[in-house]
């Protein structure tokens, strides 16, 4: 390859030739058909398992209950007031869900980044130790997260040794407790979604070229500066994926709040949707709440992408 004197940006795609021979045209057409053929399965899948359910959800959120109808009977309508009621009546659990999910995401980021950094960068030379730690990181995935959450409830029970020890050293007041509090719910969310945060960060840190850090050191960067200017930016795709993978499911989660929460100040929107759907059998309201949850997540994620989005991902 000869180096041109002036670097010109190379055109991304080859210009379509003005005149194509007959064989070339046929090949081009065949390639087009193959392309379409390759898109079809994914497209059908999305249509069937994403577009159709979302459409049904949206339609259901506008259904109305005819007066005097049996429980669970709704008719097609255009009941936008479902949304007004959903927002005015349930803004509190909605806001709380995003607050809890946000706090849990930040906590998981701090803990997850530290763990991933330790395994992927610090212990890179110790292959065996690093692999053992990695297995430990993934191990929680092997058991049901409902069971794990239930186990925490037993460990942190009022008469359990953790609470007794904390009471003994006066961190908790004499009648203090850990379960059935908002702290327990946020801790449960953090714990349960930690692997979703750690693994993407690990994946990007693992690819980090440590020679760049040496170079930074040679250029008189302090370790802190090297981390801030080299390691962190290079791991951003992982951080980005991790935060999304944590925040999105955490804001819709209801298991943690149901098991570790109380009925006063920990209700999350997932619990409300569950109760509207299964207990009250009010499908339109459950659908409206789900739609609101989806839209708010979408808006928050879009804002986040615009502010911090990296080119590698989007």
């Amino acid at each position: 390859m000869s180096a041109p004197a002036v670097r010109r940006p190379e055109p991304k795609r080859p210009e379509p030739a003005a005149e194509l021979s007959a064989t070339e045209r046929r090949a081009e057409k065949a390639r087009g058909r193959i392309g379409v053929g390759l898109i079809v399965p994914g497209f059908v899948y999305l249509l069937l398992f994403f577009a159709a359910p979302v459409f049904v959800l949206l339609a259901m959120s506008l259904y109305a209950k005819p007066p005097g109808a049996e429980t669970g009977v709704f008719v097609p309508a255009f009941e936008i007031s479902n949304y007004a009621v959903a927002l005015s009546q349930y803004w509190e659990p909605l806001v709380r869900s995003f607050l809890f999910a946000g706090i849990a995401t930040v906590l998981a980021l701090l803990i997850g980044y530290t763990m991933a950094y330790l395994v992927a960068v610090r212990l890179r030379q110790h292959k065996l130790l690093a692999s053992i730690l990695l297995v430990i990181l993934i191990a929680p995935f092997f058991s049901s997260f409902v069971l794990r959450t239930q186990a925490w409830k037993q460990i942190l029970a009022d008469e359990g040794f953790v609470v007794e020890a904390l009471r003994f050293v006066a961190i908790l007041p004499e009648d203090g407790r850990l379960t059935a509090t908002s702290i327990a719910v946020v801790a449960g969310l953090t714990y349960n979604f930690l692997p979703f945060m750690t693994l993407p960060i690990y994946a990007s840190l693992e690819r980090l070229d440590t020679r760049l850090l040496e170079a930074a050191g040679d250029l008189y960067a302090s370790p802190m500066t090297a981390f801030r200017r080299v390691t962190l930016p290079l791991s951003m795709p992982g951080v980005f994926a991790g935060t999304l993978l944590t925040f999105i499911p955490a804001s819709g989660d209801y298991i943690n709040a149901a098991i570790l929460g109380n009925n006063r100040d920990t209700s999350m929107i997932g619990q409300v949707i569950d109760s509207r759907f299964f207990q009250i059998v009010d499908y339109p309201m459950a659908a409206a709440l789900s739609t609101v949850l989806m839209v708010v997540i979408l808006i928050l994620v879009m804002l986040y992408i615009r502010k911090f989005g990296t080119k590698e991902l989007f």
């Binding site: 255009f78 007004a84 207990q279 009250i280």
Partner: protein
């Protein structure tokens, strides 16, 4: 507590919202013509027509499934957890094994029902189309059984196939939701009352008000079944729950519940899982179900006591029914007949510790476990029954309204 005016219809206090709602209503009327039809057509094309949500407001004429019992020797039965005699060693249900050996039928027993409303939510769409939900017998609580019968989602039983049905207790022979028991047969009944940890609450409890004792702050749990929790609170507030009460009485009770949740007295409102919290001692006093406490005492050592509150307890029943699309009705009837044999019924009662609905089971119990013969929680005496009542049936509108009020009180 200062008396408060009650307006249970909850008009919003936001005039903008009201305007929006009324504007919506008139727009809907407009859409009732062309637009509404268009949307309905569109939805129907996507398989979400009215039928998927129950069709008309009255029961559509659904036809029972063809009975293929003769060709397929199978019965599928969905029941609640811990609701049939179980042998820990063999991991089998002895009475069911005996039935299979006797009849040559295979019974697929599943503990699929964990809540009336949640089960209804799961199967309602299929029932509305008359489809098979995969179960030939479903055990549900009577208020839900009443709803399914009203909606035409059940098959009529042929009592000729269930001669033992005559053993049903006289008090349960004729119920308002199913005169002559044409569609349902009682499985077990039970009480809701109060239970406490005998060691941690040595004085015991006598009434619902005792649950609000400051010493129990944060260690009280109540059931998420509104008929029981609110029923007991209403009884405490002097309401006759069998009689003519309405939204005001229900609202008084949910207000008290909300207050006790807000001030931290009630730790959590729970379903079946309150048992785990009793064991871990996070909960020291609960509103709970009689059979659960007896079973817990059996499994975890004699630590708890159950009582009917002085102001009265609630009595509920679960019944077996055959869903409209079930293809093995006569096999199902054979199974029902088997469990109405007093000997078999006593075997089950000795394990589940709920009220046995079968006449003659008490005598049969003499031979199984004589200590249980005089247990009023299994074979209640008349004076015991005098202090419990069955909450009245709710109409569909009330059902939705009261469920919403209860959900609001418990914060979900």
């Amino acid at each position: 507590m200062a008396p408060q005016p009650f307006n249970r219809r909850r008009p919003s206090n936001d005039p903008r919202l009201d305007r929006l709602v009324s504007a919506q209503l008139s727009r809907r009327r407009l859409l009732g013509g062309a637009g509404g039809l268009g949307l309905a057509g569109l939805l129907a094309a996507c398989g979400t027509s009215g039928a998927s949500t129950g069709g008309g407001s009255s029961a559509a004429a659904l036809t029972p499934a063809k009975d293929v019992s003769a060709e397929e020797p199978v019965v599928n039965w969905a029941n609640w957890t811990l609701y049939l005699d179980y042998d820990e060693q063999t991991k089998k249900y002895p009475s069911l094994e005996q039935f299979m050996a006797q009849s040559g039928l295979t019974v697929n027993y599943s503990e699929d029902v964990d809540g009336n409303d949640s089960y209804y939510g799961k199967v309602q769409a299929q029932l509305a189309r008359g489809q098979d939900i995969g179960q030939d017998i479903v055990t549900l609580t009577d208020h839900m059984v009443a709803r399914l019968i009203r909606q035409g989602y059940t098959q009529e039983l042929d009592h000729g196939n269930i001669p033992n049905a005559k053993n049903l207790l006289a008090t349960l022979q004729d119920v308002d939701f199913d005169p002559g028991r044409k569609h349902s047969l009682t499985w077990q009944s039970g009480f809701a009352g109060i239970a406490w940890n005998k060691e941690k609450v040595p004085g015991g409890l006598k009434s619902i008000s005792d649950l609000w004792n400051p010493e129990l702050k944060g260690r009280v749990e109540v059931l998420d079944e509104k008929r029981d929790t609110i029923g007991l609170i209403m009884l405490e507030q002097g309401v006759d729950i069998t009689g003519d009460w309405g939204a005001d009485e229900f609202g008084n009770a949910t207000d008290l519940l909300a207050e006790q949740i807000a001030n931290g007295q009630i730790r959590q409102v729970r379903g079946n899982s309150y048992k785990e919290d009793l064991v871990s001692e996070d909960a020291l006093a609960v509103i709970g179900w009689s059979g659960d406490i007896t079973q817990l005492n059996f499994e975890e050592g004699d630590k708890w006591e159950f009582a009917i509150p002085e102001a009265g307890g609630t009595l509920w029943s679960d019944s077996m029914l055959v869903p409209i699309g079930a293809p093995h009705k006569s096999n199902a009837e054979q199974l029902m007949d088997y469990y109405y044999d007093p000997q078999v019924a006593a075997t089950v009662a000795a394990y589940v510790n709920y009220i046995c609905p079968v006449e003659g089971a008490r005598e049969a119990m003499e031979g199984i476990d004589p200590t249980l013969v005089d247990n009023p929680l299994i074979f209640p005496t008349d004076e015991f029954l005098a202090n419990v009542s069955i909450i009245r049936t709710l109409d569909p509108e009330e059902e939705t309204e009261f469920s919403s009020m209860f959900a609001e009180a418990i914060g979900v």
